[in-house]
Amino acid sequence: MSKIACFVEKYNFSDPTEQAALQNFKQAAEKLGQEFQFLFREDISDIPKFDAVFIRATTDPLNAAYVVSKTAWELGLKVIDDPESITICGNKIHQYALLEKYNVPRIPTIFLNKDELHHKKIKGIFEQLGKPVVLKAPYTSFSKYVEKTACESSFREVAKRFFKKSDVLAVQKFTPTAFDWRIGVLNNDILYACKYMIPKGKWKHGAKLRGKATFTWGRTVALKRETVPSRLREVALKACSVVGKGLYGVDLKEVDGDFVVVEINDNPSIYAGYEDQKDKDIYARIISYLSA
């Protein structure tokens, strides 16, 4: 029997479908004969008492979740998300640089340093990527720091804001689509597949603040994992292979009949009735991976 700690914060229970998913993990674990316990911030020092840690709280190298992950990893526990995945996925510059290095199909991207915010550079960016462009702060999640701009003055305004926390940011070609593919990957294998529909008149699939009850998401349409087009499967798995062997949610867009990676998320959302619509065994698969 394996003792699994599920590291959560209070906000993980504020959305009923996320709460239901967490209960599904617990039930799946118990059915498989494993012990599953929620671990809150108060008890982080209890990590050595467990065999595995499953992190559901938002991860970032600067969050308590990283401390949890690295502590578990140092002690030889099985851990999702592992510290390296948090480090890579938590920073868009890091992951885009790796996608480029390993030639994974991606959206054309330029990195911008703090001291490059001048007319010549911005002009060059617009020439290279067209208008509008998408600016991303490296630490963004839940679409919070992803903004579109079509002129130099708003480019400067957004960039200045993003530069407050990070000295480098990413600029991308604006690539709108009707939906984002979200491919769940565990241990180099497809776990689930869905389409995150982009609401009409919008270009991002959702604008949500975790822990807040109100948010607007586009619909989620799930597919059975066997039906994922083979090229999509190939690109999604290749993208994850540059990060690691854990649990990821890869966002891809279909452009001109091929697929490009928007980003690789560690700590992908799993909400009951959404990602699990077609593949009900995702809970058991993750638990089995953790207790193997």
Partner: protein, 237 residues
């Protein structure tokens, strides 16, 4: 060996500015000298860029992140044989008061505070410290028992300005484990022992001309040892 630095080093060989390096694809073992290796700051991106290029680099991104997360720093330091004290990571005042007691020294564990610590000799001081370090109890803190006196000093390539042998040992061993060339250490001194408590960046203004000379000398020594950058290979599984 390539030296990338934002500091005015006085060395013979050339020093590349961080912005120049970030825009380049120089494939060479890289020594990244910065007063501030903070996650998301230029010092971090220099190491990241070097790693993505496949360069050996000091310090590594992993060590930059870990050395600034106090509980991870202490855990890894203890495993490297560096004296540390048992610690608690929690957002519960009660837990610290009952399981550890007083006096205590507290470090922040949140995305916003990266320097300093607070000490608490009783419960009300502990509440105050956790309110400020936890940003209104929103985040966890790392608590350690306070057994002696807190001292803070600069450490360059593992050499520190302290005369105390135990502190010097901590500084040297910590450099061997984390390879942070320029940093400030918080150490707890008792009459016959010393314990590592925390590490933080140095403000540029805090670096004196003498400090810059010391760092430059160390950089020269480092490059004279040839291109054999010894970087610990810590593989993830």
């Amino acid at each position: 060996m390539l030296v990338v630095s934002n500091l005015d080093l006085t060395i013979d060989s050339s020093v590349v500015k961080p912005s120049t390096f970030l825009g380049s694809t120089i494939k060479e073992a890289t020594l990244n000298i910065n007063n501030e290796y903070r996650y998301l700051k230029t010092g971090y991106y220099v190491s990241l860029h070097a790693e993505v290029l496949g360069n050996k680099v000091i310090p590594s991104c992993e060590n930059i992140i870990d050395s600034s997360r106090t509980p991870v720093l202490l855990l890894r330091a203890a495993r490297a044989g560096i004296p540390t004290l048992p610690f608690l990571v929690t957002d519960s005042v009660k837990k610290i008061a009952t399981e550890m007691g007083f006096p205590a020294v507290l470090f922040a564990v949140n995305p916003f505070i990266y320097e300093g610590f607070k000490t608490a000799h009783n419960k009300s001081a502990l509440y105050r410290a956790m309110k400020s370090l936890g940003m209104n109890y929103k985040f966890a803190v790392c608590a350690q028992p306070l057994k002696g006196e807190m001292v803070t000093f600069k450490s360059f390539f593992g050499k520190c300005e302290s005369q105390d042998i135990a502190s010097q040992n901590i500084s040297r061993k910590l450099y061997e484990a984390f390879n942070i060339p320029v940093c400030k250490l918080h150490i707890q001194k008792t009459p016959d022992e010393a314990f590592l408590c925390g590490l933080e960046p140095i403000n540029k203004q805090e670096l004196t001309d003498q400090d810059l000379k010391t760092i430059s000398k160390e950089v020269m020594l480092f490059s004279e040892q040839g291109d054999t950058l010894v970087v610990q290979n810590r593989l993830f599984c």
